[in-house]
Amino acid sequence: MKAKVDKEKCIACGECVEVCPVEAIEIVDEMAEVDDSCNLCGLCVDSCDYEAIDMPEVDAPETEDLESYKGVWIVAEHLNGEVHSVSCELLGAGRTLADKLGVELAAILIGDQLQDAAQQLIGYGADRVHLVEHAALSPFNDESHSQVLTELIRQKKPEILLAGATAMGRSFIPRVAVAVKTGLTADCTGLDIGEDGLLYQTRPAFGGNVMATILCPNRRPQMATVRPMVMKKRVFDEQRQGVVEPFTPSQEAITSRVKVLDTVIQEQETARLAEADVVVTGGRGLQKAENFDVIEELALLLDGAVGATRSVVDEGWKAYSHQVGQTGKTVSPKLYMACGVSGAIQHVVGMQGSEIIVAVNRDPEAPIFDIVNYGVVADLFEFLPAFVKKINEKRGE
């Protein structure tokens, strides 16, 4: 299979030839022609101003009883009963989706001794909590938790299931998707219900250089993991009423072949990154590891955390724990200062929720300037010392 060109519409402009990442398109006889190296990525479809290219149509076999799948679920994550903030964010996003569809929003809570956590989930927007408590389900275990969730899905049939794109969520949700034979979209930054009632899942794609919107039309549930700190929580409502519904899993489901021998909790740089009001990030424009001094000085002055881009971490200039972006942490501080950062989408998705974004870059064409509140076109080695000096002079005035 390969991309299809509509002979009536193609004007041989060559735009698709430029865009194709595998060089599968050529202009032959005033017409775009796709060869067998096409990997069906779909980039050409959007590049064509004349709507002359399409992906071949395929229809996966439908989930049996597709219409009987109802309701939106979020999988609640917790550490020893303490609900992870991403779960509250999922309830915020899930509430909007459920209201659009006119269906119930339920949270799935698996572990042991979780009554308080269940009430908390209701206060953040859940209509119902499917509560699965068993000593064997604590601490978290990929295998048993995925088996329990699979059983729940088979019995209760939700149409949408969301989980946090945390280490935990990204580790155990893919197993569930395979078990129930449905599609799963990783690390979404946008979710919406289309006019067709389907879940439109948007995420960075192609190395984080563009965004892609993805559907799962024929299988249920439609499953997605969602980036932490992107969706908005609702205000906690102590008075909110909901149903806590206990679920008893089978003995097989709670049995895991993987034994958790030890769980170690460590204070990490990443925690600081997530909590700081100010994050100052250095990118490739810093040129070498030692130059991070200027970033650290400013961060220290503002009691902020130091961030780094993927390429800086790949170069070994900063530890991975500082990485902000799609493959690092997501942050949403009061002030995000990107210094010498080009602004690749894979970085931007990790910080676009920040309240004020400032970029300092020598290149006025740098894509980072497309998303800032304040842009400073300057040599960061000149600007940052001047800015530090200014703060020292003026603060407290």
């Binding site: 390969k2 990525c41 909790i265």
Partner: protein, 263 residues
């Protein structure tokens, strides 16, 4: 013990950029590289093989030129390689990919351990490793930073979590994804390089894996990409102009007005 490493050939992300005029991806002769995270999977496999004996086989699903990626890892001392290549595999999502890889692991069998990198830098889904374990119905863990064999057939893994780390243990056969803390990949050796050039690499298609065309590639995928786009620029941005001194002054005032703490 027989260890299989799954790798992926990906575009070198550093060379991909967006054309600001047309808002589309510009390829500009993008080179293909071995997914950087997969080198740690290769290293993890070689460390285990060197310590406990056996062999390591590297496997990839991709176009015919992905064979190059396999040869690169053979140069580090991997014993064997298999290329999964078929027109029918094109357009696979993570479900179809992990199914195809699982069938290939079964065909290679008996395999004691499958190792993958934590994710690929083009898709960044991290779903294929866990999906593969599900298709194989084997225990698995993710983000492993240290692997060791205990009691003969048990794999003990130290794995990173969002809040620290965990130590988990499971019986082989199993699947594990690994992170860079495994250790830096070794350098290619001359002897291995010579061998890597010549070694015959079998290519398996859907039929070799007893898979129907409807189960693989785009047809076997449950997710569909319906739109690819670049996010629109922000409309309310303010560019701060002037000499550096002046810029610093202006930014300070704006941030103070924005109630940034510490100013």
């Amino acid at each position: 013990m027989h260890i299989v490493v799954c790798i992926k050939q990906v575009p070198d992300a550093k060379n991909v950029r967006i054309d600001p005029e047309t808002n589309t991806l510009v390829r500009q002769g993008v080179d293909s590289i071995v997914n950087p995270h997969d080198w740690y999977a290769v290293e993890a496999a070689l460390l285990l093989r060197d310590e406990y004996g056996g062999k390591a086989t590297v496997m990839t699903m991709g176009p015919p030129q992905a064979e190059e990626a396999l040869r690169e890892t053979l140069a580090l001392g991997v014993d064997e390689a298999v290329l999964l290549s078929d027109r029918a595999f094109a357009g696979a999502d993570t479900w179809a990919t992990s199914l195809t890889l699982a069938r290939a692991v079964e065909k290679l069998g008996p395999v004691d351990l499958v190792i993958c990198g934590k994710q690929a830098i083009d898709g960044d889904t991290a779903q294929v490793g866990p999906g593969l374990a599900a298709h194989l119905d084997q225990p698995y863990t993710t983000y492993g930073r240290r692997l060791e064999l205990v009691d003969g057939d048990q794999l003990r893994v130290e794995r990173l979590t969002d809040f620290g780390y965990e130590v988990v243990q499971m019986a082989l056969p199993a699947v594990v994804t690994v992170v860079r803390e495994i250790g830096d990949p070794r350098m290619p050796g001359l002897k291995h390089k010579m061998r890597a050039k010549k070694l015959e690499i079998p290519t398996w298609g859907a039929a070799d894996l007893d898979l129907n065309p409807e189960e693989v590639g785009l047809q076997g995928s449950f997710t569909q990409v319906v739109k690819v786009f670049s996010p629109p620029p922000r409309s309310d941005r303010e560019m701060i102009t002037g000499e550096v001194e002046e810029q610093a002054e202006k930014l300070f005032k704006l941030l103070r007005a924005g109630k940034v703490p510490g100013l």
